[in-house]
Amino acid sequence: MELSRRNFFKILGVTGASVVAVKGKARAWESKAPPDPFGCLVDLTRCIGCRKCEQACNDVNALPKPDRSFDDLTILDTKRRPDEKTFTIVNRYYPGKIDERDQLIPTFVKIQCMHCQDPACVSACIAGALTKKENGTVHYNVSKCIGCRYCMVACPFEIPAYEYFNPITPKVMKCTFCFDRISKEGGQPGCATICPVEAITFGKRNTLLKLAKKRIKENPADYIDQIYGENEVGGTSWMYISGVPFEKIGFNKLPSEPMPKLSETVQHSLFSYLWSPIALYGILGGIMWAFRNNGDNTEIENNGGAR
């Protein structure tokens, strides 16, 4: 363990310099959200639960045909989640409203990836296989993926699914926001174009926010005053307006802080430019040098004899 005097001062110098260099550059966490992304506004007061969007999504993404046909509406009796063969699903809720004939009024909720503005999945991905694009999509590049599934752990909407039965080349599966389609001029997501009642509006997120606010303002009796996705986890590209409180129809309450903020702040304040490991290295080197002649070897002789 020869740590010579010269080596020791070498480490000390590098340590000092690097700590000084970093102190000047440390900065607060900044959102990496694109300024003018596309989005979709889902108006739950309009949705009639026809499952046409599910079918369109299945078509445009060339997903495997489902066991039960898309015309089968009895499937709405069970609560479903998107999975590795289905990027979007519609669930039916009875939040308690009744019509004039005392019948419960259903609310239908379409679920898919929210394409968060500061996505947890993107921050988490070990290899940068997931990225947030300028046009708003959260895009998956399978060629970088190692299948660690940390994105699934991180996603607050529990969206990414996994091909658990593919032994060698499984993929993370989630709504693509029809990346290829909307990258073309005038292109729209499959689900938005098909909707017969225009429950899904595609457009720039900023425009959609204005539209949502307008609808809520003009029909205050029909809507609750909240746009789900405006502030949740720092904002999402997909947003919802509804006539019933979101907690009653399967939406979870989420903080308005972007999910990656805390972990990225911790990570970068500790490890940017590797300042803390370098400093620790220097300190340990110092300790090692200071104790280099700590001759308790005699002690061991005594102890050894006593054994």
């Binding site: 363990m1 921050s123 990570q267």
Partner: protein
Amino acid sequence: MSHQAYPLRAKLWTPGVLVLSALMAIGAVIIVARFIGGIGYVSNLSTARPWGLWIGVDVASGVALAAGGFTTAFLAHILGRHTYEPVVRPALLTAMLGYTFVVLGLMVDIGRSWAIWKPMFNWNTNSVLFEVAMCVMFYVTVLYIEFIPAVVEQFKGKVNLPGLLGKLNAPSEFLMGLADRILGKIMWVFIIAGVVLSCMHQSSLGSLMLIAPTKLHPLWYTPMLPLLFLTSAIAVGYPMVVFEATIATTSMKLDSEMKVLAPLTRITILLLGLYMSLKIGDMVIRGTYVYLLDGTAQTNSFLIELGLGVILPWLLLLSKKVQTSRRGLFITCTLIVLGVLLNRINVFIVGYKPPLGDSSYFPAIGEILVTVGLIAALMFLYRFIITYLPVFSAPGKEVSS
């Protein structure tokens, strides 16, 4: 040094080792099944529960329980307390094997095992997992380098390969001579690096969950997770050394190393005390004690973790009677080890309850058999290596008495 480590040269194929081999064989069969039918074929992992037993135990707990490697290296080589030298090599061996199996466990768990190298060329420095992976990669390398002297000591000047391989005798001798001369001079570089890398990824394993505040139970979710993971890893290092040294010396009929082990546990009073106060303080400040008596499985698991795994052993350590009894120390250290193990299981499995999807999860029999098989393989290799390489330095019982 008066006490040279030496190969134990005991009988290898004892009944215990045969049991280990059987467990290894079963685990191997399941691993083959995983690579034929997919992860879903042998596990209960789902969309809501993408991480299960393999990440919670094979990876997270494996890393925590290998902490003896860097804590003893710090004590003996950085603080220069050479009295502790006899436990450094066994702890180093545990760490080396522990991390090797962490990597093997990962290879089974990740979907595209063949792509495991990709993060090296696709950096995402925002990702906590990226940092953990890089540290583990470098640390495994450091551990292997630190272990080279044990190999060199055994074979230098004695290389005598049979038949055709005989041609390799001279080159191997040369390499070992080279390693011997160079490593002695620069080993300090790796020793410090090992401690630094350990501190980095031990804490970052805790940071992994910071990104999922809505999923991890509030009893565990705290911004302090990285600090709690680091302090618990440091606290479990020496108890783990006591735990395995006691088992190894008993099963190999060696003189117990109480002279070295007893003072280690006195340091542990301090280290475990630090972890305990951080953990309890965090609970008090965040007010999460309100959950303590609500009777859910998670809360009970927390109570066991804190009560039996941290507070009880800490109190036991204070007692003079425990400090001087080999049995007492062993029981106490076992409690500490199990406490940290349960903590990792709690953070990654029990406390992880996603609110939307079907969050139920219990490891499938296949997952359990793989984990058991990997642990059996680790124990087998440990025994194999201490039999043929100089790791232990405690004299045999009959010699000393």
